[in-house]
Symmetry: C2
Subunit: 214 residues, 2 copies
DNA sequence: GTCTATAGGTTGATAGAC
DNA sequence: GTCTATCAACCTATAGAC
């Protein structure tokens, strides 16, 4: 790929992570050290540039998710999958994203998930629908006791937990001074897996309690 | 309060919930049926208008949260608080927000929490810091086995779960057709409380397992 | 491929009549 | 308090020289 094209992507990626999707092309090209017109030459429009950034951010995460999920499924002898393993495949590609020098990609990912309806629908259809379907099947094999509805809600809660941390990652150290260490992706992963796995299982338990009372 | 001032607030609230914070004053005044200059007359600037909207959305939620937390604390004989009760005080004022005719306030709340760093810092310092501190104390009395760090992470995960649902509430029915019913706030509350309560407790269990292995 | 120059449209804010 | 009219600044996109 052309060098200035990459410079534009890198600069836009960082600025969008910091300020949101409504950064001006002038700010982007200035940060990239290229000419304003270069954006419309290499990409066709600002929208196309944003699409390229979204794809470059999400697709590697999705590939890693599917790799890890495939491995989990290979290792399971019977039909049942280990819930923690499925959650690790789902969450850790996000939490352990781009360790050095590109921490802003985490904030970018949070931003992409937290954008107005019209936009998120496009992103979902293009980059997330297939992944969601695949993981819902995996969750069905990990916690078959749950109803399909309960699995969807649980997955949404898990996404929310990780996205919110990514979304606030830039400012969390300021909000809770010494109490949170955002830089330790692995520790965050373990906490998230423990928290969400217990959450998934709790819905089943809640329903069993209701039934035994009836 | 002046009538046109309220009309502006209502229109801006709805448009920001739907499209995000970068709605133009022209779009707002057109939707409100008032003159463009009215915004700068009644509020001083667009920023001040946004601050007013944020305050009007968050403050009633905070009041309700503190009311409910006070009640939970009054009812507890010993020093220990029921975790589910604290979580209900924390979450249900969000999930059961403005039931009829003002569903967009949920999306607005999600939007407010998912905004670039510079903005969220201002919102946090002004409207959320005191609440966070108060509830961290309550969580300390509900799950004293956790470290302060674990309580902060758990609270962040719980916020993320609810905010993500609010943030996507407008488009969730499209993404998961029949599987999710966003309109049933009470059912959502119960699921969230069960999920997050189990999550809080899981971190403690994880650590106890580690210690017993050592 | 990269630049300058500029078209054509939007924005927030305000001055001044009523 | 409410209006019209307008300013100055910003935006994206493109035409055309090099």
């Amino acid at each position: 790929m052309n060098e200035t094209k990459i410079r534009i992507l890198d600069a836009a990626e960082r600025l969008i992570a910091e300020q949101g999707l409504d950064v001006s092309l002038r700010a982007i090209t200035a940060a990239a050290g290229v000419n304003l017109a270069a954006v419309n030459y290499h990409f066709q429009s600002k929208d196309a540039l944003i699409d390229a950034i979204v794809a470059r951010a999400i697709e590697p995460v999705n590939r890693r998710r599917l790799e890890m999920l495939d491995a989990v499924e290979r290792e399971s002898a019977d039909g049942r999958l280990p819930l923690e393993g499925v959650l690790r495949a789902f969450l850790s590609p996000l939490t352990e994203l781009d360790p050095r020098g590109r921490e802003h990609v985490r904030a970018l990912m949070g931003r992409i998930y937290s954008v107005p309806d019209e936009f998120i629908r496009r992103v979902f259809d293009r980059h997330l629908a297939a992944i969601a379907e695949r993981f819902l099947e995996a969750f069905a094999r990990a916690v078959p006791e749950l109803t399909a509805e309960e699995r969807v809600w649980s997955m949404l809660f898990a996404i929310g937990a990780v996205i919110h941390v990514l979304n606030w990652s830039g400012t969390l150290p300021h909000l809770f001074k010494d109490l949170v260490d955002v830089s330790d992706g692995k520790a965050l992963t373990e906490r998230l897996i423990a928290f969400t796995a217990a959450g998934f299982r709790s819905l089943e338990h809640t329903r069993q309690l209701e039934q035994s009372h009836a």
